[in-house]
């Protein structure tokens, strides 16, 4: 009888015992004794010229080891990177420390190093910065006004990065359309707000002199490569490690000035230097997300067929590029999602403003693009008098049409070939789960009993790029005790990657899960990889682990035959042991093989190093539906029910996938209803902490109805697609549509940025009352 497979089961997580006992080994737990502490002096102005900086008094304060400004940085020090620029992108890079010009409140100006964090803060408070304030530019629309100041005067514009797509002939389609729907979708600025904030420490390795950075990063290998460029030194002289992260969500898929500063200062001072962000600082110095305004037009035939889409996205990226410039462009290029829509045009424009840099956050640009498209579907259904579910079903790509090349391409973007699945089936499953057919009766009964309250049901359909390439490395070795250790480049950040990789290796080798160790995110072991993002860890990391396991079987079987003195063809691998095909001897288990190999001086043979090349992007998809209750008297929106049918290919661990979906939807609820990073009229952040940034809690959780389809991805041997971002991606659209259904499709819910807070709902209702009282039709 063969061993039951771990893959596909709700295997309890291997990460849990340590974490539950509080032995999680997060970054703050690893800072070496005797480390000095970095505090960053940050700008309080949003837009200003630095006139002078006086740190003399601060330098004399107790415990201070160094105070460094831009002028003290090494000549030739690079700026922070941006990875996906195109030929026409303009240079708006983030400096390690601001030299002359400040472009957002929170921008680092000076680094203070002292013996304790408190002493560093004491001294930071004594650093005097003299500035000449400039008028701040606080929205993308403002940035494009002719009278607005330029953040980079030498460029002569605030629009710095533009990408375009054209498929088919949208103008022709619009010219013959029965209906053209136009919608503006303004999405406000939010943050990933992981519970563990950012942190890092730098050391100089004794002996080798290598610089060692330990950082809360999802991309240690990329950080190493970027550090080599910024510091202009060979990558071989730099080591980057990522411990377990207390949540990442893309906020830690970035490069930060402190990662450079702790290394420079550790080298200069000959002591480890550590940085731990605090929560107030977090909301002005960690990357932010989502802020963009999308204008979408769609052409429909009278039967509801969407024939063309024309979409323009204006992204407010803050004072400089984040690591990823093209999240808005990549996502807007995917705005059609799962709908056929043969003619398509998009333009995405990134504009600099006096706010912290924008970067990716769970789903990157997808949630905004899905919101825009799904508002259009509701508007079209209303205008054409077609049922909302029917118009979506009518336009969804039928299963027989897959794979489908969307005709999208440009530099840096994966080809969009929708690979596999059954979109209509998933959509129907969600309709069933949310009780779509019975909803009108439920709504009528509820509203009759609660005159001030309305129920609404919202639908959305999302397709997103997951499990992206180009490739993923893995190494595997047999330890002297016969256990197997897999080295992966990925970062553990709560997604259960240690468990999923363990399941894959255990299954591949036919051994116990407990006999598999996972080692992660150490560039000393695996220097080259792309990182943990874009819902790629499980699928591509798992595929690399499976490939490594198979490679190990080959080398172990070779070695076993050798050591047993038999022909290679006489033995084979079975259940973690070498066996003779003729069954004449006892199996030679790994522990014995390791012992024999060691005594023969050939222990090194029991290892393998592989790289799984990702042939193409896998597109995961899901159908979402939400039911909300809105109190028209107070403006309070409550999410009652939430249904998702998701297809991320084969489920490596259904428990973990469910956790990703529920967690992602919950973040989507937070961003749609509660959260906003806000600024005052001078561009200073109003968000100081969780008092001002209410994320979801137990009390805001809806009833969840989770369903899965498992259409295997054709692009990896495990058949997996990504699941990490799917929950968030469909949620703003489903909830916004549900609120529109409750209050009326005419209410301009997306015209202005901001969460659908009680105050905004009431303001919109009042505006409509006033308009109606004045005789304007709704």
């Amino acid at each position: 009888m063969t061993r039951p497979l771990r893959f596909g089961t709700r295997t309890p997580r291997r990460e849990d015992p340590d974490l539950l006992r509080g032995e999680g080994k997060f970054l703050a737990d690893l800072i070496p004794q005797g480390a000095l502490w970095l505090t960053v002096v940050r700008s309080t102005d949003a837009h200003a010229i630095i006139l002078g900086l006086d740190a003399e008094a601060a330098k004399a304060m107790p415990g201070v080891a160094a105070i460094v400004t831009a002028a003290d940085l090494p000549a030739g020090l690079g700026h922070l990177p941006c990875v996906d620029l195109i030929d026409t992108s303009l240079p708006v890079f983030h400096p390690v420390l601001a030299g002359e010009r400040i472009r957002y409140a929170g921008q680092p100006i000076a680094a203070v190093v002292a013996s304790t964090p408190a002493q560093a803060e004491d001294a930071a408070a004594a650093v005097i910065v003299a500035t000449r304030k400039l008028a701040p530019v606080l929205s993308a629309a403002d940035a494009l006004r002719p009278e607005s100041p330029w953040l980079y005067p030498e460029l002569g514009t605030n629009a710095v990065h533009v990408t375009r797509q054209l498929v088919g002939d949208p103008d022709a389609a619009f010219s013959v359309a029965a209906l053209v729907v136009e919608e503006t979708v303004a999405v406000h600025r939010v943050g990933a707000a992981p519970m563990e904030m950012r942190g890092c420490f730098g050391e100089v390795e004794p002996g080798s002199g290598r610089l060692v950075l330990t950082s809360t990063t999802q991309i240690p290998q990329s950080v190493r490569a970027h550090l080599a460029e910024i510091l202009t030194r060979p990558a071989e002289s730099i080591l980057v490690r990522a411990p377990r992260l207390g949540g990442g969500f893309g906020l830690k898929e970035a490069m930060y000035p402190e990662e450079v500063l702790v290394l420079l200062l550790a080298e200069r001072l000959g002591r480890p230097v550590a940085f731990l962000e605090d929560r107030r600082e977090h909301f002005r110095s960690a990357v932010q997300a989502r802020e963009e305004t999308i204008r979408i037009r769609a052409a429909f035939a009278v039967d509801g067929t969407a024939t063309a889409v024309d979409v323009a996205c204006l992204a407010d990226i803050g004072g400089a590029y984040g690591l990823v410039a093209n999240a808005p462009g990549a996502a807007i290029a995917n705005a059609r999602g799962g709908y056929v829509m043969p003619n398509f045009r998009s333009v995405a424009t990134s504009v600099v403003t006096n706010k912290p840099p924008l970067n990716v956050y769970r789903g990157a640009g997808h949630p905004q693009a899905v919101l825009a498209m799904e508002r259009v579907m509701d508007k079209a259904a209303t205008a054409l008098g077609i049922d909302r579910a029917a118009i979506r079903r009518h336009n969804l790509i039928p299963a027989w049409m897959l794979p489908l090349d969307r005709g999208i391409s440009y530099s840096g973007l994966p080809r969009q070939i929708l690979d596999s699945g059954d979109y209509v089936h998933a959509f129907d499953m969600t309709l069933e789960a949310i009780g779509y057919a019975a909803f009108p009766a439920r709504k009528a009964a509820f509203e009759a009993a609660h005159p001030r309250r309305k129920l609404g049901l919202g639908l959305s359909f999302m397709v997103e790029m997951t499990a992206v390439g180009p490739d993923e490395p893995a190494e595997i070795e047999v330890l002297p005790d016969g256990r197997v250790r897999l080295h992966a480049a990925l970062t553990a950040m709560g997604q259960g990657i240690e468990t999923v990789l363990g399941q894959v290796v255990a299954d591949t080798l036919g051994i116990d899960l407990d006999a598999v160790e996972i080692s992660l995110a150490d560039t000393d072991r695996i220097p080259f990889a792309v990182g943990t993002y874009a819902s790629r860890g499980g699928a591509v990391g798992g595929s690399a682990a499976a490939k490594a396991g198979k490679a190990l079987i080959e080398v172990a079987t070779d070695l076993g035959a050798d050591l047993l003195g038999v022909d290679r063809s006489a033995v084979e691998w079975s259940e973690g042991a070498i066996v003779r095909r003729d069954g004449t001897n006892e199996p030679l288990p790994l522990v014995e093989l390791a012992r024999l190999a060691a005594s023969a001086g050939r222990a090194d043979a029991l290892r393998a190093s592989v790289r799984f090349a990702v042939p193409d992007t896998s597109f995961a998809y899901g159908a979402h539906a939400a039911i909300v209750e809105v109190d028209t008297g107070t403006g309070v929106v409550t999410v009652l029910d939430y249904a998702v049918t998701h297809d991320c290919g084969r489920l490596g661990n259904p428990m973990i996938v469910d956790g990703q979906i529920v967690g992602g939807v919950t973040q989507g609820i937070g961003a749609t209803l509660y959260e906003e990073i806000a600024f005052d009229a001078a561009g200073r952040p109003l968000t100081q902490g969780f008092f001002d940034y209410p994320i979801p809690v137990a009390a805001t959780a809806p009833r969840f109805h989770l369903l899965h389809l498992e259409t295997p991805s054709p692009h990896n041997p495990l058949g997996m697609k990504g699941a990490g971002e799917a929950g968030f991606t469909g949620t703003p659209a489903a909830i916004t549509n549900a609120v529109a259904d409750a209050l009326g499709q005419d209410l301009p819910l997306t015209r202005d940025p901001g969460p659908l807070s009680p105050a905004r709902i009431r303001a919109l209702l009042r505006e409509r009352e006033v308009a109606q009282a004045a005789g304007f039709s709704a």
Partner: protein
């Protein structure tokens, strides 16, 4: 400013006696982590909102980021690392029934908020062994989790308590 001096703080942390002289401004959370080595105390906000730093001080759940170390002088502290002192007996992996319920219900992902939730919940269940779902939700109002969506945490607490209907 001079003359603020230091104060002697002697406490027991997870059964271990620790004494040290600290500046009055030293926060209890920092004292526990830096001086006592209690790394189960996680600092997620420093403002009392997230609950990750929650510990039991003389049998009462407190935010260790909103107390001065000197205030805890003479006290007995339990962190998630010593949860057995507040919860049932641990198993062979040194996990208490509450911790096992969290694992079984996938009530943690990154695990950063978890120690504070465990300590507060163990004390909550001592005072209210059979809470309703509504009471659990109210109890969790002091704890932020960014990963799980909170639903599995409610389920784990219900399971640990054998909770009654709302």
């Amino acid at each position: 400013m001079t003359g603020v001096g230091t104060n002697r703080v002697a406490i027991i942390v997870d059964g271990r006696a620790v004494a040290a002289d600290v500046e009055p401004r030293t926060l209890l959370a920092d004292f526990l982590r830096d001086t006592c080595g209690a790394v189960a105390v996680h600092i997620g906000c420093g403002e009392g909102t997230c609950g990750a730093c929650t510990v039991a001080l003389d049998g009462i759940a407190v935010r260790s980021c909103l107390m001065l170390a000197v205030q805890a002088d003479g006290g007995t502290i339990v962190t998630a690392a010593g949860l057995a002192a507040l919860d049932g007996p641990p198993d062979a992996q040194n996990l208490t029934p509450l911790q096992l319920a969290f694992r079984a219900h996938h009530a943690l992902q990154c695990g950063f908020c978890t120690p504070g939730i465990l300590v507060a919940t163990a004390l909550f269940l001592r005072a209210n062994p059979h809470p309703t779902r509504a009471e659990i939700v109210d109890h969790l109002s002091g704890h932020l989790c960014r990963c799980t969506g909170n639903v599995p945490i409610i389920a784990a607490i219900e399971a640990a308590a054998g909770a009654t209907a709302p």
